[in-house]
Structures are given as structure tokens and as C-alpha cells.
Amino acid sequence: MIDEKDETTNRPILEIRDLIISTEGRKATRQLVKSVSLSLAAGEVLGLIGESGAGKSTIGLAAMGYARDGMRISSGEVLFKGTDLLKLSERKRRQFRGKRIAYVAQSAAAAFNPAHKLIDQYTEAAVAHGVSDAATAENEAIELYRELGLPEPETFGQRYPHQVSGGQLQRAMVAASMACHPDILVFDEPTTALDVTTQIEVLTAIRRTIRNHHTAAIYITHDLAVVAQIADRIMVLRSGELVEEGKTEQLLEQPKQEYTRKLLSVRNLHKDDTGSGEVVLSVDSVSAEYKPGVPVLQDISVQVERGRTVALVGESGSGKSTLARVVTGLLPPVKGGIKLHNAPLTPTLKSREKDTLRRLQMIYQLPDTSLNPRQRVREIIGRPLQFYLGLKGQEMEQRLKELMAMTELEEYFLDRFPHELSGGQKQRVGIARALAAEPDLIICDEVTSALDQLVGEQILNLLLKLQKEIGMSYLFITHDLGTVDAIADEVVVMRKGKVVEQGRKTDVFSPPHKDYTQKLLNSVPEMDPQWLNKLLAEA
């Protein structure tokens, strides 16, 4: 082992060699990370990218010499300035963590203690590791808050976690992780849970801060466009193995591997306008509220034609999902009405006919909570067949097989429980359940946002295919404009319960834009590494 004094500036600050991480347990172990090596120079930002299960987070944590419960670092070296973290005692290792290498988790809300002020959670680590006293740390915190663009940096730290927004909290966590002036920061999907417009703010703040402090970073994400803005070098991972590695520009311009090319092409899905003129669903100046006097929706009118897709776009809290609740009858509107095929719908769910309910189906955001874990796929998809159409026996079996084929699922999945399927397969089951009712319209509520990009793209393709084949109509709720471009014919941009802009996609997405639409459009990261720079230069 090399002594710390001998180090030269060229030596990587962190080196991982032949890292193998496997599951722990009596039963046969499985390798989650299969011999991955990486190196990180001082001040360099390395992007780790891949779909879920690729081992990104596991490698990120291993960089701190840590393995989650149920996992074990079975071999390899993690050299921090030449010291192998894996050979140190747990106590020594802990001195590195937080002090020399810090971690920024995906959910800041879960990482902060709700009972303590932000500033106290900042100074805690610095004092505990003996880096500075509380007063110095507080001054540094204010400086960092200012640098991260947080409002009123002098008093910001006096707030409790629930008193700041999600984006601010994420930035506060970046600040807290820098309390001990670490050499390396590990970011684990820090912007994934945020709205697109907030994502930009956080991303910009992170990039500015780590550049100012010359901190090296490992940035983990599934979004290639995001990592392109921040990383100097990118490693593409898949099922625990390295697929490809390269400088950011080089990797984006000349990807060598097929898998990387696929990742790059995700945002290139595009749909051209189709339409029939036959109106399936018409929402006429609907207003709704949860509490009397507090409107959540104001005067919304939307029409969906047969075989077309209308996308409802907006940040969280814009009222998109509420509109879906009004249409389905879960929340009766206080004003306005809804028509299905020109026949007015009664406002409440209970008063609607079985056949009306059949015509309106829904697909949910989280496949994990939208399928009953105690029912087999056969029962999940079979129930609407039995309930609405009265199918049974051979007829039912035949139809089940057809539905499985339509949603590109294997027939033997019929006897599986949801937990035995992957996220994408579960979402397909959700689609099959909606299709089983032979509906006129399907409401899709953020159906791809919980999925990996590639899987999400396959789901979008499936929805498009169904639209082409059986002329399905969709009311598509999303916050992701990339998805809108892929699937929508018409766009309704919503903000705080009101329609900001609506019309054909081509009209809404071409200039001149309304201010808010412009902001939303600008916030969608592009694969161009210079995109964020350009955007910041314009602003």
C-alpha cells in the first residue's frame, strides 16, 4: 500500500478495482456487481447510468466501503487516495464516510429528520467529525445556501424540513453533505423525484457548487440527458456489468454499444397527428374542489376524439390527476359536465351504469399498487371479462389469451402473482385489465414515470400500437414533455388548476409560446451536453 504522502496530483482520488458484490444468504448467492473497475480524478464528475437493477446505487455505496443489508462486497478493492477502504476496520471506515466521501440520496424528505432544523442537521456532521465548531459550520452553511441559490440564506437554516419545497430540500441536502468539505460526493438520483422545472434549478445548483469547490463526484441516474449536463465522463452499466465508458461528448456522439444507442434513442419517439373527428369524451367547463371555496380545477374544457391522445401536462399540484378523478366520478364537479359519446355522465360514480363504467378505464402510475398482490394475473384480467361481459369457461380462456398476446405478455404469466413480474410486465397487466373491459377511452395517469426509460418507451409503443390497431383513445396525464411528444395529438398545459394553453401538439410546441409553456419546454433536458449551458446563457 502506498503512503498518503507519496501521492501525486495525477493519481485518481478514488479507484475501484474488480469490485464484485453479491447477495448474502444461505441460498445460492447471486452477483449484483460483476467485476467493475472505475477511477475518479480529483474534481472530476463521473456519471453512472443504467436502468434499475444495473447496480448503479450498489456501486455508489461501495465507493464508501458500504454494502446494503443482504449484500456483501465479496472481492475487489476500493482505494481512496491509495487506502483500501475495505481493509479498514468499521470504525476507521466510518471516519471516511461523511467526512471524506459524502452521499446525497434520492429522497431528501426521507433523509432529513423532520424534528430538527436544517442548520442543525448541517452542523451535526461537521462537529461530530471534528472538522469545525458549530459557529464556523453555521457560517459556512449560510455561504453554501447562498451558493445553492436558496431563498434568504441567512435564515433558511432555521426552517424545518417540512417548511421548504422539495427542490429546496434537495439542495439543503447537497449543502449538508458538503459540511465536512468532502473530496468526493456520491449523488444517487438527486433530481429524479422532482418536477422538470425544479430539476433544472437543482441540477444547476449542484453543478455550480461542485465546480466551485472542486469536489469530485459520482452522479448516479437513469436519465442520460441529465447526466450529460453534469458529467465529464459516463459509464453505462447493465445488470452489474460495464457496457461502455467514455468522455461525455464522445459517448453521446459515437456510442459504440447497441445498448447505449438504445438509451440515446429513447427521447426520439415521435407521433404524428391522427384523428377522426368523432368525439369520445368531452369535458365542458368543469370546476372542482376538495374543500368548499378552494378550487382545484377552474373551468376546464377538454375533448378527446376517437383514436386520438390528449395529453394533460403540468407540474405536480397542477390538477391533472384531479381532472381524472372528476372524469371517473370519484370527485363530482361543482360546475360543468362531462359527456361520453355525447351522452351526459352523471357526476358521481355510484349513479353510473355498469356499461358506462366499462367504457372508461384507467391505468395507474405505480404498477406495484395498482395490482392486488394476492390475485393471480388470470383473476386480475379475468374479473372485468366476467364482470362486464359475463364471459366464462372456454370463452374466457380464449379472450384472456388474446389479451395477453395484445399486450405482448407470455401466456404462462396468467398463473403468476404480480410480485413475480417485472415493473414493465406489471404495467402491461394493468393495460390488459383496462383493455379487457373493451373501453372507449383509457385514462393513463403517469403510466411511464415509475418505469425505466427503455421499459417506459416499450409501454408507450404498446399504447401507440393499440391505438393504431383498435382505435383506442387516451387521456394521458404526464409531467414529462418527452412522453408528450411521443404519444400525444393534442396537449393541454395546466397550472394551478387552470388551462394555460391547449391545442394540437404541433401548435402548442411551436413558437410563439406562452411563458409557462416555454418554461416547461425549456426544462426538458436534451441529450446535448451544452444544453444546460445554453439555457443558462439565455436566461
Binding site: G25, L349, K354, L357, N372, P373, F387, E420
Partner: protein, 289 residues
């Protein structure tokens, strides 16, 4: 996510599942199971196992332990060993009926409250709050004094009172399931409340309910024994462990352990049920140890 998934879709015969379950059982769980089966055996075959009748006077009062009367006789000259065996039937039988009743009432109302919500939930929950504000043993004593101590009254009163506890738990766990998207999907489909409860909610809350069943059984069992000890439970000449402790309590002063035996029967069954419930809940929650 990293756990090995069980492939329950492959069709495994039930006896095979039971066998492999037993093979993986912790020793405490097995011990509990063996004890439970012993009690069950005694309950089923009581008339064949007991040498004398439940209420027959067979010898002088307070006869000492002997070959003929294994555990001696009580104040009226009834064989204690035989009474101990018959008491298993009575006490456990009443407890089981009361527990089942508590679960039928409390479970059903709890799920209705969770699924329907609104004023139905409010009315039911406040009613339960009111009932729970009164100490259970005292409330039970009061009701038994009003309605008299028959077996039916005992089962009904204990079942209804304990149903409040079951209601609370069922409502709480059913609430967690009721907010799931698949329940909303069933509502949007137009399913009836009963179907939603039976097909969507119940299968997902069975394991906490099972654990609660074991615990409730123990509580009611102790309650029945306490009531009998106080003289308001099963009425003589019916044999009952709680009553037997009281009847023979004075023997303790003569240095005889006889009154401790029915008490031990109560304690051992309670512990055994807890061991088995522990094992099952651990298994259901996926904890390895």
C-alpha cells in the same frame, strides 16, 4: 428486492408445503405446536381419557394423591385429574367461540368502516371508543351480573366486548389496503362493497388478523379463567380451570401443589399459542430470524 422470490405459482401439493414449513420451523414454534396438539387431543378424547365423570363424587373430600385418584379429590370428593381434563373442553371451547364471535363482528365492521369511511366510520369508531373507555373485566362482570352466567351469555358478552379490539386493528390494517390503487380500480369498475372487502381487502390483511387471533384467544382465555375464578364464569358443577384454582386454593396452605395445576394448564396453553403465533407472523413478514 434482493430476496429470492418464492414461486408460489408452481403447483405444490398442500401436504408438501406443510412438511417443508415444519422443517423450517424454529424449535420454539414446534414446541408450541406440539403443546397445542396435546391440548387438542385431550379436548377431543376427554371422556375416554378421564377415569371418572366430570361432576361425580367418587371419594372423600380432599383425598391425597394416590394410584386411584392421581391428583387427589376436591372439597366435594370429585376426582381432580378427571376434572382437569374436562375443564380443557369447557374453558377452551368457550374461549374459541368467543374469539370467533369477536372476529366475525369486529372484523366485518372494521372492514366496512375502512372501505365505506365517512359517517359510517365515524359512528362505528366513536361507539367503539365509548365501549373501550370502560375497563373490560369490570364491564364483563357487570353484564354477567345483569344477564346471569350462562355459557351463551359468557360467549356473547366476551365476544362483543373483545370485538372492539378486533375492530380497531382490522380497521387500521384495512385502511392501509383501502387506499391502494387496485381498490380504487375495483371501485371504478363498479364492484359492490362486499366483493371489494372479500376479494381485494381481506386476502391482504389475513396475516395481521391471524396474529391478532392468537393474541385475542389468549386474552379471552385469561378473561374466562379470571371470571370463573371470581365465580361469575362457568357455574358449578361444570369443571373450569379458573374455578378449580379457586375451589382448591385453600389446599396451598397445607403445602399441596394441586391448585397450581389448573393455573399451570392456563399458563402453558397461553405460552404455546404465543409461540405458534410468533412463528407464523415472522414467516409472514419475511423476517429470516
Amino acid at each position: 428486492m434482493m430476496m429470492t422470490k418464492t414461486h408460489s405459482s408452481e403447483k405444490v401439493p398442500l401436504w408438501r408445503k406443510v412438511l417443508s414449513g415444519l422443517a423450517e420451523a424454529p424449535p420454539t414454534g414446534l414446541l408450541g405446536l406440539v403443546v397445542l396438539f396435546t391440548y387438542l387431543f385431550v379436548i377431543v378424547f376427554a371422556p375416554w381419557l378421564a377415569p371418572f365423570g366430570e361432576a361425580t363424587i367418587v371419594a372423600d373430600a380432599f383425598a391425597p394423591w394416590s394410584a386411584e385418584h392421581l391428583l387427589g379429590t376436591d372439597s366435594l370428593g370429585r376426582d381432580i385429574y378427571s376434572r382437569l381434563i374436562y375443564a380443557a373442553r369447557n374453558t377452551v371451547g368457550i374461549t374459541l367461540m368467543a374469539t370467533l364471535l369477536a372476529f366475525v363482528i369486529g372484523g366485518a365492521l372494521g372492514m366496512v368502516a375502512a372501505v365505506v369511511g365517512g359517517w359510517v366510520d365515524q359512528v362505528l369508531s366513536r361507539l367503539v371508543d365509548m365501549l373501550m373507555a370502560i375497563p373490560l373485566l369490570i364491564f364483563a362482570l357487570l353484564l354477567l351480573m345483569i344477564f346471569g352466567s350462562s355459557v351463551t351469555a359468557l360467549i356473547l358478552i366476551l365476544g362483543c366486548l373483545e370485538a372492539t379490539r378486533v375492530f380497531r386493528l382490522t380497521r387500521a390494517v384495512a385502511m392501509n389496503v383501502a387506499v391502494m390503487d387496485y381498490v380504487e380500480a375495483a371501485r371504478l369498475r363498479g364492484e359492490k362493497m362486499l366483493w371489494i372487502i372479500r376479494r381485494e381487502i381481506l386476502p391482504n390483511i389475513l396475516s395481521p388478523l391471524f396474529a391478532e387471533f392468537g393474541l385475542r384467544f389468549c386474552f379471552i382465555f385469561l378473561l374466562v379463567s379470571s371470571l370463573s375464578f371470581l365465580g361469575l364464569g362457568l357455574q358449578p358443577p361444570t369443571a373450569d380451570w379458573g374455578a378449580m384454582v379457586r375451589e382448591n386454593a385453600m389446599l396451598i396452605t397445607f403445602g399441596r401443589v394441586t391448585p397450581l395445576l389448573p393455573a399451570a394448564a392456563i399458563a402453558i396453553l397461553t405460552i404455546a399459542v404465543n409461540l405458534v403465533v410468533d412463528w407464523f407472523t415472522h414467516k409472514a413478514s419475511g423476517l429470516s430470524k
